[in-house]
Amino acid sequence: MKNATVIIAAFLCGLIFGFGVLISGMANPAKVLSFFDVAGGWDPSLALVMASALAVTFLGYRLVLHRTHPVLTTDYVLPGATDVDGRLLFGAAVFGIGWGLGGLCPGPALSALIDGGQSVATFVFAMLTGVAVAKFVGRSNPPIAASHEQNA
């Protein structure tokens, strides 16, 4: 998995994702927080973003996963874990609190970086630090990090 086609394909997919979060407004913290503010002037846009992204992915996966292997690589790497454990729920809760505080989740934060000024730059740097810390802590608890690709 080391050729120019893979690099170009991955880059274009990143661009498409970035356009998606920018057009939808998910990269704008003010809009995300308006969605979460049900008791204020609620902006339901993000529900449509997630619903349409999910619908396209659901239909697309049904077609794609019938193939014996991906177009550019030899195998599908899918998460195998099925247990809903405390670590999953704890991490999700911490992530949700951060998302509600800052109005940014990981992908949109990256697409907001160039135009987001000092606040978003600070958020992204802090987020990368948080990922690194979690990776480091996870490594000292080997039973959980059994696979190199356990992320959902």
């Binding site: 080391k2 997919c13 997630m50 396209v56 992915t57 992530f95 934060a109 990256l110 190199h148 959902a152």
Partner: protein
């Protein structure tokens, strides 16, 4: 920050593009499009060959606003809290939480739900509830 207007057309176009990216990543590379997982892999030296798609994907995500500005004639509107300390705390929680919880909005919320993953259903329920509760407390209680 005041309420933002409901923009259903932009939401549907944007969501469709996000889904398209997830499907293409699976079709072409056989991988889950989970941003926190893709970032996390950069801190994981166990499989360096994974860098060959993670890095260009993330570069695309970061420079997308340049293409957006070129196509629409104006940069995207990004209105974040000016409180840098708040944004720093939020960033740490998002990075640490998403990695510990094995995924974020894209990995669990889009790809995981599309696969009917029980873990993703649980994670999405928890992180959406936590985000709604946090905004309620910040805006209507504190």
């Amino acid at each position: 920050m005041t309420a933002t207007p409901f923009t259903p057309i932009e939401a549907l176009i944007g969501g469709t593009l996000i889904g398209l990216s997830a499907v293409l990543i699976m079709l072409l590379l056989g991988r889950i499009m989970g941003i926190s997982g893709i970032i996390g892999g950069l801190f994981d030296a166990r499989s360096p060959s994974e860098y060959s798609w993670r890095v260009p994907f993330l570069v695309g995500v970061v420079i997308a606003p340049i293409g957006f500005a070129f196509a629409t004639g104006q940069p995207p509107v990004i209105t974040a809290s000016p409180d840098v300390m708040l944004m720093a705390i939020a960033g740490v929680l998002v990075g640490y939480g998403a990695t510990t919880g094995s995924g974020c909005t894209s990995g669990h919320g889009v790809c995981g739900l599309a696969r009917f993953s029980r873990r993703s259903v649980a994670a999405v329920a928890v992180f959406m509830t936590a985000a709604f509760a946090t905004v309620y407390v910040i805006r209507h209680v504190v």
